[in-house]
């Protein structure tokens, strides 16, 4: 009971940052994620763990402060919402190019442009297909609960440092703004100076951190090294969750908040005797292509439910490779589907199941 808190997803990120041994948070306010910065400012971790919390003058400044902090081998992070993440694109590419670890939290809102402050999942492509110039990848974690917004701060830092890549937590205004119970069991201290990697810059360390290389042959070598890292991540870090897929003839694929809504659609369908299951990718990159390909052998149809125009549909189709039809159920611009909406869509396509 004592370690159970009723908090918003955004507050969970702030608490997890402090408790996961984060050294620095650099950010700029934007709805619907401003509570992350606000909560950190309220909790004043610089007086306890020594963690730096800084409101920068812009998103561009925030991500470059992250670049600087990451260069010194520290656990550093930023957070923003869709338009703010676009502003950070250049910095994210530099961080990836320089081979640095960091955590970036995107609490998505509807776009394009300034769009709306209401929830959306329209930054899927931006997150999983690189999101800026150059051949790079980010590990993308999609939390579907407030608990996961807490846990994925820990997991995000672990993965970032294991592979020295930027990790993005791709949340949205639903999970960021809602309150749920969170068990805050995990806690660890900040690293001491001796515990920092030998690859970073700092006193007594002879390393150069840069993403610039003018010799194309050397630059290709760097790219190949990055690709080897990405292949390793694809082999080892795919995460997903399945519900009722054992006997499913119809599988809904959904991530984050949509997966929560879709899981109730599965319950509605099962109540009516339809054999429906759910696959929730937890890592959006690396994507669970293999598992979906396997399922395509026994499933009659897939329905991808996402709060966008059908972005993840492309990855599911890539996985399924034409074996079975893949349909889409979506809303855009801050509108949200209900479990009943998804179930209706399912029934529309599900005749004869």
């Amino acid at each position: 009971m004592e370690d159970l808190k009723l908090i918003k997803g955004n507050e969970a990120v702030a608490l997890a940052a402090i408790r996961s041994g984060c050294d620095g948070y650099f950010g700029y306010p934007i709805t619907p994620q401003s509570e992350i910065l606000e909560t950190l400012m309220e909790l004043r971790p610089w007086e306890t763990t020594g963690m730096v919390v800084l409101q920068a003058e812009s998103e561009v400044a925030s991500i470059n402060m992250v670049y600087g902090g990451a260069s010194t081998g520290k656990r550093v992070m930023t957070s923003s919402s869709s338009p703010g993440i676009s502003l950070m694109a250049e910095g994210i590419s530099y961080i990836a190019g320089a081979g640095l670890p960091c955590l970036i939290v995107n609490v998505q809102r509807g776009g394009p442009g300034l769009g709306t402050i209401q929830p959306s999942q329209a930054d899927y492509w931006q997150a999983v297909k690189g999101g800026a110039h150059g051949d790079f990848r980010m590990i993308v974690l999609a939390p579907a609960s407030v608990q996961e917004m807490y846990d994925f701060v820990f997991d995000g830092f672990d993965l970032a440092f294991k592979y020295r890549v930027p990790v993005m937590m791709l949340s949205d205004g639903i999970i960021g703004q809602m309150m749920e119970k969170v068990a805050m069991g995990r806690e660890r201290p900040r690293w001491s100076a001796d515990e920092l990697g030998d690859w970073c810059v700092g006193v007594g360390k002879n390393n150069i951190i840069t993403s610039l290389e003018l010799d194309p042959q050397v630059m290709e070598g760097r790219n190949l090294a990055l690709q080897r890292t990405y292949n390793e991540i694809e082999d080892n870090e795919v995460r997903y969750e399945e519900v009722n897929t054992d006997d499913a003839e119809y599988v809904i694929v959904a991530f984050g908040s949509s997966a929560r809504i879709a899981s109730e659609a599965v319950e509605l369908a099962r109540r009516d005797g339809m054999k429906v299951g759910l696959l929730r990718p937890i890592t959006l990159w690396p994507f669970p292509y293999k598992r979906l390909r396997q399922l395509a052998g026994s499933v009659k149809r897939f329905l991808v439910a996402e709060l966008n125009a059908g972005q993840m549909v492309e990855d599911v189709r890539l996985a399924v490779d034409g074996c079975v039809p893949v349909d889409h159920c979506g809303r855009m611009g801050g509108m949200i589907f209900s479990p009943e909406d998804i179930y209706e869509q399912l029934k529309g396509h599900g005749k004869g199941i």
Binding site: K181, S263, S338, E340, D341
Partner: protein, 180 residues
């Protein structure tokens, strides 16, 4: 047990904190809870609503299209959410400012004049807990003691002294809620 309730009214009426107290009461009783606000430019005078789900099983969707209970505190919310109560469900509304009263025959309707009673008894700031008292009288999904504990946990330190007064407001709410 699963209760999906929407609380909807004007910003400033304490809609979101009423939901929070209810959700906290659920936590006190070891239930699974979710609290999903309509966030955004809602402020004093604008509209505000929150969906609270209390369940003895893990909650799948925090977003609902159909509600077991709707607590309606203004006309706009009546227009929007009367039709979203499931058949056999409950609608509780504050009569203040309501020009078109609920018409459905397949749900149970309760009303309370909480705005007026709160003003008359000098409890205007306790309006939301008065409504909560009415709701819990009709839908006793959590124990009164848990709500008091929920109140303690959701109020900041400086407001802890207001707990007894809020308890009183809840009792008033339970007295004035009436079936239509």
């Amino acid at each position: 047990m699963k209760e999906t309730v929407i609380i909807a009214g004007f910003g400033g009426q304490g809609v979101l904190s009423m939901g929070k107290i209810l959700a906290y009461a659920g936590v006190v009783e070891g239930m699974e809870v979710s609290w999903m606000p309509a966030y955004g430019p809602e402020m004093r005078g604008g509209t505000a609503n929150v969906t609270v789900i209390l369940s003895d099983k893990p909650i799948s969707s925090p977003i609902a299209g159909v509600f077991d209970t709707a607590v309606i505190l203004n006309q706009q919310s009546m227009d929007k959410f009367e039709s979203a109560v499931r058949p056999g469900g409950v609608l509780i509304y504050d009569t203040n400012g309501i020009t078109r009263h609920p018409e459905r025959k397949d749900i149970t309707i309760y009303s309370m004049d909480a705005t007026e009673q709160a003003a008359r008894r000098g409890m205007a700031r306790m309006f939301n807990t008065m409504v909560l008292g009415g709701y819990l009288k009709v839908r006793p999904v959590v124990r009164g003691q848990s709500v008091v504990e929920g109140l303690r946990r959701s109020l900041p330190e400086r407001a802890q002294k207001l707990v007894p007064e809020n308890e009183r407001a809840m009792r008033v709410g339970a007295e004035i809620v009436a079936k239509k």
